[in-house]
């Protein structure tokens, strides 16, 4: 009866496309639409009031020049024009993209690896799994503070270990690339558990008979991974891809507390830059424009993903 139980995984995903196509063709009855909107109402009210309304306000704000204290002058698209010649803005765009491009695949790869490792029988499996998901329970602020403790160049434990091994210490705080790496590492530490958990859950839906069949057909371990595991966790991959990208685009706590965007903007990302403009220099119209750019980037990504995923649903 339980949905997604091993036995009905394959039929369920095979059945879906047909149903959706049917759904679109029929469109549903007026009564059903009424019911649907009633069910959606609480959520739509909350989203509309607390997200979309403020968003429209922010869009308007992005066409204003304001010190943040009410008095505003309309400047049209000047704020957006300013972005083009703003070095730190472009640096933040590049950093945000690079951060996302690094964290998303690596976190997902490590998560899948760890999940495969923990999916079979293993001594102390429960303990190891607990260890890997523990960082999930730690707040962003606490994670970043731990990061400072570990990556401090003078008294941090990591450089201490590196020096004790006789290796040259890494400038985690004063070197741009190293500082960026430290933010990525802390993020991976924090995100690994979530990625592993989702993949582990997905793997439990893969019936052992599939592996047995593949083994009987003479598939190697790599082939079993590539042609059984990877396709079977496809839905989880899509889910994680979206979640990781959203998270990466919005990274704030860790950068804010660990590096403050430095050294020399090496770790400045769009959200910290928007925050800096909105709440430090109080150039709120400009900050809103940066936020809008961020939103457009993520929307474009979602649209692409949505389309690809739908195509995949229909064709596979």
């Amino acid at each position: 009866m339980a949905p997604g139980a091993p036995a009905d995984v394959a039929p369920a995903s095979g059945e879906q496309p047909g149903r959706r196509r049917r759904g679109r063709a029929l469109g549903g009855s007026p009564g059903e639409a009424l019911a649907a909107y009633s069910f959606l109402a609480p959520n739509l009210v909350l989203l509309g009031l607390f997200v979309l309304l403020p968003l429209v306000w922010a869009l308007w704000l992005s066409t204003q020049q304001t010190d943040g204290f009410g008095a505003a002058t309309a400047v049209g698209l000047d704020n957006y024009a300013r972005l083009f010649s703003d070095g730190q803005f472009w640096r933040s765009v590049v950093n945000t993209t690079l951060f996302t491009a690094l964290v998303t695949p690596v976190a997902m790869g490590l998560g899948l690896g760890a999940a495969v490792l923990l999916n079979g029988a293993l001594p102390g499996r429960g303990v190891i799994r607990s260890a890997l998901i523990l960082p999930m329970a730690v707040s962003g602020v606490a994670t970043a503070l731990i990061g400072v403790l570990v990556f401090d160049e003078n008294s941090g434990v990591l450089d201490g270990i590196i020096r004790a091994l006789g290796l040259p210490s890494v400038p985690w705080q004063s070197g741009g690339a190293a500082a960026f790496a430290s933010v990525v590492l802390v993020t991976l530490w924090w995100r690994l558990g979530f990625n592993m958990l989702i993949y582990l859950a997905a793997l439990q839906g893969v019936g052992p008979h599939l592996y047995e069949a593949a083994t009987l057909d003479g598939a190697s371990a790599w082939q079993r991974f590539r042609y059984v595991t990877v396709p079977m966790v496809g839905p989880a991959t899509f889910f994680l891809l979206v979640m990781n990208v959203i998270y990466s685009f919005q990274v704030f706590d860790i950068v804010f507390v660990m590096t403050g965007g430095g050294p020399q903007d090496a770790t400045s990302v769009l959200v910290t830059y928007a925050y800096e403009n909105g709440f430090v220099t109080r150039d709120q119209g400009y900050a809103a424009a940066i936020g809008v750019v961020l939103l457009v980037l993520t929307l474009a990504f979602t649209a692409v993903q949505w389309r690809t995923n739908r195509t995949r649903d229909l064709t596979e």
């Binding site: 960082p135 731990i146 530490w189 989702i198």
Partner: protein
């Protein structure tokens, strides 16, 4: 790798090609080697992940003099609770704890109810604008709160809820993460089941309550827990919305304390530890259920 596996499976497909027993022994030895390697890899990964948390505990249990000694000690010589005593005696930790519990519980409850309803509509009902609305809901996930903070603040003031828990609860409950998960889960419920109930004359609410809801228990657990975790650790918005010290939640308390203690890593880590402990314990106690919940929510 591929060749050896093929050879291993050879006995089954071509009977008599090789004696059975030795092949089995080779396989068992190989399997044991693989098992040892897997265990070793898993243990190493676990240790790497645990190391920073271990260090956090060590720092919270060390005296300040030891921390400033400059000498690296992975294993502390003496442990002390003085950091915890100092933190507990100088800050209203219990009040903040109570605030965190109240806000997290109510937000999570609200999130679960609201998102389950929406998830049902998106997954099982056909209506014009379904895809567009879902996309919009999903898109709101992409909106960093920093972008809309100023407007949100004005709104909360206009609604007259500024300075109360509701100023945090309502905007936080407007999260689309749950819709996404709920829709995916409910898509997995065979539509025939729903249609059968409809043909029996059940209304949509009744179908939802009596057919869909009972099947959603794993989803409820995951949604509730994810929301609890997120709300418990949230800080950007609560920081603005909760003006008074006595309404602070634990992460804001942590930031506040860090400002007070400055370079006092021991005290800061002691409080950080206290603030994450409830979620860590919940994780450890309910993790099996949690993994199952995710597994059965059939993310697709």
């Amino acid at each position: 790798m591929s060749a050896t596996t093929a050879r291993e499976t050879a006995p089954r497909s071509t009977p008599g090609a090789a004696p059975r027993r030795p092949a089995g022994a080779v396989r068992r030895r190989r399997e044991r080697r693989v098992a040892v390697a897997r265990t070793a890899a898993a243990v190493v990964v676990a240790l790497v992940v645990l190391a920073p948390l271990y260090w956090m505990v060590v720092v919270s249990l060390s005296t300040r003099a030891e921390l400033l000694g400059g000498q690296l000690r992975l294993w502390p010589r003496s442990l002390t609770l003085e950091n915890f005593e100092r933190v507990l005696s100088s800050f209203p930790v219990l009040t903040w704890f109570g605030n965190s519990v109240a806000i997290a519980l109510v937000t999570s409850l609200l999130t679960v109810v609201v998102n389950l309803l929406a998830g049902y509509a998106f997954a099982q009902l056909r209506f014009r604008g379904s895809s567009a609305l879902f996309l919009v809901a999903l898109a709101t996930l992409m909106l960093p709160v920093q972008v809309i903070m100023v407007a949100l603040f004005r709104l909360v003031t206009q609604l007259g809820i500024y300075g109360s828990y509701w100023a945090v609860i309502l905007p936080t409950a407007a999260s689309a993460f749950g819709i996404f998960l709920a829709r995916q889960f409910i898509l997995g419920i065979p539509r025939d089941l729903v249609e059968a109930a409809r043909i029996d004359g059940a209304g949509h609410l009744r179908v939802f309550l009596q057919v869909v809801l009972p099947l959603c228990r794993p989803l409820l657990a995951v949604l509730f827990f994810m929301s609890l975790l997120q709300t418990w650790n949230d800080f950007a918005w609560p920081l603005i919305a909760l003006r008074q010290n006595e309404l602070f939640t634990l992460p804001i308390g942590l930031l506040y304390l860090q400002g007070q203690f400055g370079a006092d890593y021991g005290g800061t880590m002691a409080f950080a530890l206290l603030s994450v402990l409830p979620m860590v314990v919940l994780f450890l106690v309910f993790q099996r259920y949690f993994v199952q919940g995710f597994a059965r929510s059939g993310i697709r």
